[in-house]
């Protein structure tokens, strides 16, 4: 396989609050390749969004990336650059330029006081040396590409005049303004209706095929992962508990959490009125993070005291990795 565009190694991000330290991301490894989609999946509090923010170094205080490497391979094929070591001024051209981010709630991500055109044009002019007229033409072209109908009219509208689906299209247009090589989509369709979700996922696929984008898709929805991702990382309480190809994750999951998660999702294929299998208990509060393997209090395949005391090390490599004593690594 080709060299990855982006490699995340042993990423650790912590929040330093008055009540203690929250290990929001606690050892995450993955690779992202050109033209492929990496799905990052997990329930609330698993650290998937903080991972995205860590890559762009936009973690809000009191959070801070405390360890690991984020290696971006330059477009000219030179040696990878560790984004965590980059001076802030250079990081600014990476954000939006090399790596772009789209958010779940497009309403909250736009300013309500400027037209969408204003906001896209600003992004274009920050990264590219275009005059106002050329930037506007480029913005219209981008809106058109993102499937916004009547782009030359919509460009002068305000975000509140657009529907949720259209806002997400505008967001995608803006993210792609400077031809990024990596696009991080953080729950891009969670706030949308199913038929609109289908439209947006279709658009992302089409844009990826056209531009060879590397896509990091963050979601809680296993259905979206199955449909979109080539590779998958499953996260639980800040850790990547399992990673592998989409076929491996869905066909031969090895971590008990992945297995339980897959069993517990409702599906349209189920027989009516069938009970779902469940995962006992609920996700612990980040301050009450269990010792040992963070999943052990809910795990149905717990081995014994080893799971309660020791943290399972990653077994395998970045393309297929599992952190569970069932798989190996027992002290």
């Amino acid at each position: 396989m080709a060299e990855p565009i982006l490699s995340v190694r042993n990423l650790e991000t912590q929040f330093f609050g008055p009540e203690g330290v929250v290990r929001a991301v606690d050892g995450v490894d993955f690779d992202v390749f050109e033209g492929r989609t990496l799905g990052v999946v997990g329930e609330s509090g698993c650290g998937k969004s903080v991972t995205a923010r860590s890559i762009l170094r936009i973690v809000e205080r009191p959070g801070r990336v405390v360890g690991g490497q984020i290696l971006l391979r330059p477009a000219d094929g030179g040696a990878p650059v560790d984004l965590l070591k980059l001076p802030e001024a250079e990081m600014r051209s990476v954000r939006g330029g090399e790596i772009a981010l789209i958010f779940q709630e497009p309403m909250a991500s736009f300013s309500q006081y400027y037209t969408v055109g204003n906001q896209i044009i600003e992004a274009i002019r920050l990264h590219m040396h275009l005059d106002k007229r050329a930037a506007r033409a480029r913005a219209i072209e981008l809106l058109d590409m993102a499937g916004v109908p009547q782009p030359s009219r919509r460009i002068d509208e305000y975000p509140f005049q657009l529907s949720g689906g259209l806002r997400q299209r505008v967001m995608i247009a803006m993210a792609l303004a400077c031809d990024p090589r990596v696009l991080i989509a953080d729950e891009p369709t969670t706030a949308l209706d199913v038929t609109t979700q289908a439209q947006i996922l279709d658009l992302l696929r089409e844009l990826q095929a056209k531009r060879g984008l590397a896509l990091i898709l963050i979601t809680h929805d296993m259905g979206v992962i199955a449909e979109m991702a080539n590779d998958v990382v499953v996260m639980y309480l800040g850790r990547a508990v399992e990673s592998g190809s989409v076929k491996e994750i869905f066909g031969a999951p090895r971590h008990p959490y992945t297995r339980a998660l897959l069993r517990s999702i409702p599906t349209v294929l189920a027989k009516p009125r069938t009970r779902l299998s469940t995962i006992a208990g609920s996700i612990p509060h980040p301050f009450n993070r269990p010792k040992g393997c963070p999943y052990h209090p809910r795990c149905s395949e717990i081995i014994g005291t080893v799971c309660e005391t020791a943290e399972p090390p990653p077994i395998g490599d970045a393309s297929r990795e599992v952190r569970c004593f069932l798989v190996g690594g027992r002290p």
Binding site: A198, G251, V268, R273, S282
Partner: protein, 337 residues
Amino acid sequence: MTALLEVEGLVKHFPIRKGLLRRVVGQVRAVDGVSFTIQKGETLALVGESGCGKTTTARCILRALTPTEGKIKFNIGDASVDLARLKRRELRRLRRHMQMVFQDPYSSLNPRMVVGEIIGEPLLINGMTDRTQRRKRVTELMEMVQLPAAYLNRFPHAFSGGQRQRIGIARALALSPELIVADEPVSALDVSVQAQILNLMLDLQDRLKLTYLFVAHDLSVVKHVSDRVAVMYVGRIVELAETEALYTRPLHPYTEALLSAAPTPVPDAVSTRIILEREIADPANPPPGCAFHPRCRYAIARCAQQVPALEEVEPGRWAACLRARELSLRGIGVEAT
């Protein structure tokens, strides 16, 4: 089987007011002629996308909103009452027979009351003034929803989302209602917790012979809990059928599109998705004829002129489409188990 609830021609319009004099300049036709019945002990799901009128319909049934038109017959004991016409005082007597479970367990519980008070409040209001009696019933309810009775004196903030939803369900069950209206009861929960709540609702239904009106947007959740499904689009029911039949062989093009848009957790599932063009019609200004026709790939000229009525196309299967009898639409197969 007997019908617990019969809704006939339910209409709810919200006026649009403008200007200094707040003159009415139009109507949002949130619910525009909805009819269905719910049998005793069954679960009817009301599904649709945002703005389709499913929540408004549910709120009209509970009379949280007063319907503009239509009948809502509620058959309780030997009596049958029209909820749409009842006065406030008469309603109060009936409210104990129908309760609601809300979507957001974070905002639907009073943060200043402990769990015991939250669950016991409906009992107190309905005349159970004896403390020990009330406490006994609350403990019983907590056991029913699998909450440790030791949590009686804790405040809602000490609970997780799933536990809060259990509290909400216990409160709804306090007065032994016949009908539970659940408006997106699991959509704010994580998947692993969602499964627990859905199972609990199924168990409680079997145990207490409850009747559910289950309002949801998620077709996979609906598949797991409902006996029959009504699909809504811009204020109207476009299709109503038994769950299995509706999923495997839909009769309305909108149902077909909705089903094909639902992501399935199976990689490499043959992607023959129908991507609907454009957006959901505006209920303040719906297109003429069938509201779905501008997005429908089977639309013919007549669809733009004639509003299709909800008709019984096959026994037990209702659809509002001029072409329901001639189209053969694609559903979702049953998983081989």
